[in-house]
């Protein structure tokens, strides 16, 4: 016995007032990580969890075996969707500040996750998103107005007033309802995927959690069941370095990448540059193809950075350097894709400026329409008796009586 007992407490590399320091991030150069065939054995591809799959190099040129060779239209579509997501976030964040909505969460800096991954799935694949995956709802055409109405809890709210802002759903487009409880959607995705396999249907499922949420039980359950039944599911960890005020080390991220969490169960992991849309797309596509061919589950870690506050209730300047994001070595996903398109000769700064204007206008227009359906304080309002519906498939007597009571008290029934 020699060393003094001592409890290790993880510490981020920089706190407010200190210089940002991302030296802890293990980066591979673009193109450096091999791309195995989709039927490679799990034991042979552990390197995918430890390196960093990147396609775009520092000069914004696509490199190496993971280059998905997307055509111009797809690349431009991706850029448009990312810019739209950012414009939407920006507007909603400001609307919260103005008191029009009660709460908001941006995906600032993480847009390539939802858009890049979303593009890699088939329409029939079922998504179980986390709260920072608004991009998935946007790209599957949920409609900005519908999404805004949800945030407004107004007369057209898809949730009928029952959820806080940002907890969208879209059953028609195979987008599950978002939960306020972290990670609970993970086993749902595995169960859904098991169901598809039981029924012999070719669709796969995907779900997302944040780095911090990997500590929850549902993360473990999902990985275990996915591995045991070889379920056709993609489980994603959006590692944006922070979980409110705690950095990813509090979920064990400073010892081993999150992508490695399934290795002990024989589940392949891929660690991807989450701000490189091409890499995100390519890794997801690889995992999707694998899942569709009885290859089972894959855990994908998307290395990115939470550019904004955790939510409108948060103040990150209390716990991290103000300029941390601008030092993040993987940059800004929107900017990187734009630069790539420019490099390819498909795009210009002018086009970018007008795209941003266009998206801003689109969002503004949608907002105008959305508020015309009411806000929490301006009519038209949702019918209050909706409060008692959908607790069960049919309303039991006790709820009908409670509804009567409330309506009577409000003078809406005699």
């Amino acid at each position: 016995m020699s060393k003094q007992p001592y409890l290790h407490i993880p510490r981020p590399t920089a706190r407010p007032g200190e210089a940002p320091d991302f030296s802890y991030l293990n980066l591979s150069p673009a193109g450096a990580v091999e791309r195995p065939p989709i039927d490679a054995r799990a034991g042979e591809i552990e390197y995918l969890a430890l390196g960093l799959v990147r396609v775009l190099d520092d000069d914004h040129v696509a490199q190496g075996p993971w280059d998905p060779n997307l055509d111009k239209d797809t690349l431009v579509r991706a850029l448009r969707l990312m810019v739209l997501t950012r414009a939407y976030d920006d507007r909603m964040q400001r609307m919260q500040r103005q008191g029009k909505i009660t709460f908001y969460m941006q995906a600032l800096g993480e847009e390539a996750v939802s858009i890049g991954q979303g593009l890699a799935f088939e329409d029939g694949d079922m998504m179980f998103p986390a709260y920072r995956n608004q991009g998935l709802y946007i790209m599957r055409d949920t409609g900005l107005v519908e999404m805004m109405c949800q945030c407004l809890s107004n007369s057209r709210d898809m949730c009928k007033g029952r959820q806080m802002p940002i907890f969208y759903q879209n059953a028609k487009k195979n987008l599950f309802t978002i939960s306020g409880n972290l990670a609970t959607q993970y086993p749902h995705a595995v169960g859904w995927a098991m169901g598809a396999a039981i029924k012999g249907e070719p669709n796969i499922a995907a779900s997302w959690v944040g780095d911090g949420s990997t500590a929850e039980a549902d993360f473990h359950y999902a990985l275990t069941f996915a591995a045991v039944y070889n379920a056709p599911v993609i489980l994603n960890v959006t590692n944006n370095q922070w979980a409110i005020s705690t950095f990813q080390g509090f979920a064990g991220g400073d010892r081993r990448p999150f992508a490695a969490r399934g290795l002990g169960l024989g589940m392949p992991g891929i660690r991807v540059d989450g701000n490189d849309l091409l890499a995100v797309y390519a890794a997801t596509r690889w995992a999707a193809d694998r899942a569709r061919n009885q290859g089972g589950p894959t855990l994908i870690e998307l290395v990115t950075y939470r550019g904004g506050a955790h939510s409108t209730s948060d103040d990150p300047s209390r716990y991290r350097p103000k300029d941390e994001w601008s030092s993040f070595p993987l940059g800004d996903p929107v900017d990187r894709l734009k630069q790539h398109l420019v490099k390819l000769g498909h795009w210009s700064e002018e086009e970018q400026t007008s795209l941003e204007e266009e998206m801003k206008a689109t969002v503004s227009e949608a907002w105008k329409e959305a508020v015309s359906y009411g806000t929490l304080t301006e009519p038209p309002f949702l019918d209050v008796s909706l409060m008692f519906e959908d607790v069960f498939a049919e309303m039991p007597d006790h709820l009908a009586r409670q509804r009567e009571k409330l309506l009577r008290m409000r003078g809406e029934r005699s």
Partner: protein, 333 residues
């Protein structure tokens, strides 16, 4: 009752290809209580699925199966082990339909053996129904005989609402009249021990008047239904005994009518007393029947302690305790 539960599975697995069962040891082995005996062999390992030892995972995965159009029947091996799945039940299963305004739901049935009387000690004897009946969005059932068990389980599997389905393990093999010194009896001679072969249902929103009477009303469910019958007989009173069956939603009408008639009411259950399901029964009855009550509503329940191995029969609301309760209630002038 085991055979009735097995038969309900069998009928539904046969009728509806979307029904799947999952749980620990339920597949190849047929369940530690044998409630799924032979069903994996009959329907295949994709319909009757052995699961990892992870109650939260079983329920979480069942929700996903349900969202994908299947009708999962999940077994939790003992009700005492349902707690690791509590978050998925409360925050997800019970809330999906509401929070998505009906776009999503998952018709999961969670079956689980509950209650004591088998020397299972504190981790194989609990009756946690009162925790679930407080959760909006989930229905809670506790069965008391084979006929109901099968009919209610079929109704539960067909229901589009999530349901927690409690099976008192003490009466798996026969009714129990609350006298631990008597030899065990089988279901054979019980009027509800006989189970029709095929498909039938018992409604999920109706209490059952097990026997009618004039002197007092005993409201109960599960094992204690049988104890109450024996106790009423022993006490020599004309008791109206109500088996609540579906605890949530509660069939208030049946309770109200009965207590308004008898003027006296005893609530009995095996679970601990404080904040147990019986508290809601008392609260409801006192509100509905206040002007007819001739005595305070009394409760005979398990004590507010864990279920001790050595003192099983001191803990359990045995026949004698119910007789005592009935006498006291009848004494009130």
């Amino acid at each position: 009752m085991i055979e009735a539960i097995r038969s309900a599975h069998d009928v539904m697995l046969e009728r509806d290809p979307s029904v799947v069962a999952l749980g620990q040891d339920i597949g190849y082995f047929g369940g530690v209580f044998r409630c799924t005996d032979g069903l994996q062999e009959k329907y295949g390992e994709h319909r009757v699925i052995d699961a990892p030892i992870a109650e939260g995972g079983i329920i979480g995965v069942a929700i996903g199966l349900g969202v994908n159009g299947l009708r999962p029947v999940a077994e939790i091996q003992f009700a005492d082990y349902i707690y690791p799945g509590f978050d998925q039940i409360v925050s997800e299963l019970s809330r999906l339909r509401y929070r998505s305004a009906g776009e999503f739901f998952s018709p999961v049935v969670i079956r689980t053996p509950c209650g004591g009387g088998i020397r299972g000690g504190q981790t194989h004897s609990q009756s946690p129904e009162g925790i679930f009946t407080h959760i909006s969005g989930v229905k809670t059932v506790m069965v008391s005989n084979p006929y109901d068990a099968k009919g209610l389980l079929i109704s539960a599997i067909e229901s589009n609402d999530p349901i927690i389905f409690f099976e008192p393990k003490r009466i798996y093999n026969g009714p129990f009249d609350g006298d631990p010194d008597k030899p065990a009896v089988s279901w054979a001679s019980h009027p509800r021990g006989e189970v029709p072969e095929g498909y039938y249902t018992v409604p999920l929103d109706k209490a059952e008047i097990v026997q009618s009477g004039e002197d007092l009303t005993i409201i109960t469910y599960g094992t204690i239904v049988h104890v109450a019958q024996a106790a009423a007989k022993a006490a020599g009173v004309s008791a109206e005994i109500i088996d609540v069956r579906t605890l949530m939603p509660l069939d208030i009408e049946t309770l109200r009518e009965s207590v308004n008639k008898t003027g006296r009411c005893m609530v009995a259950h095996e679970a601990t007393r404080f904040c147990g399901y019986g508290a809601e029964l008392v609260a409801t009855v006192q509100k509905e029947c206040f002007w007819h009550l001739e005595a305070p509503i009394s409760r005979v329940t398990g004590w507010d302690t864990p279920y001790p191995h050595a003192f099983e029969w001191e803990y359990f609301p045995v026949q004698r305790r119910l007789v005592d309760g009935i006498r006291k209630l009848m004494e009130v002038a």
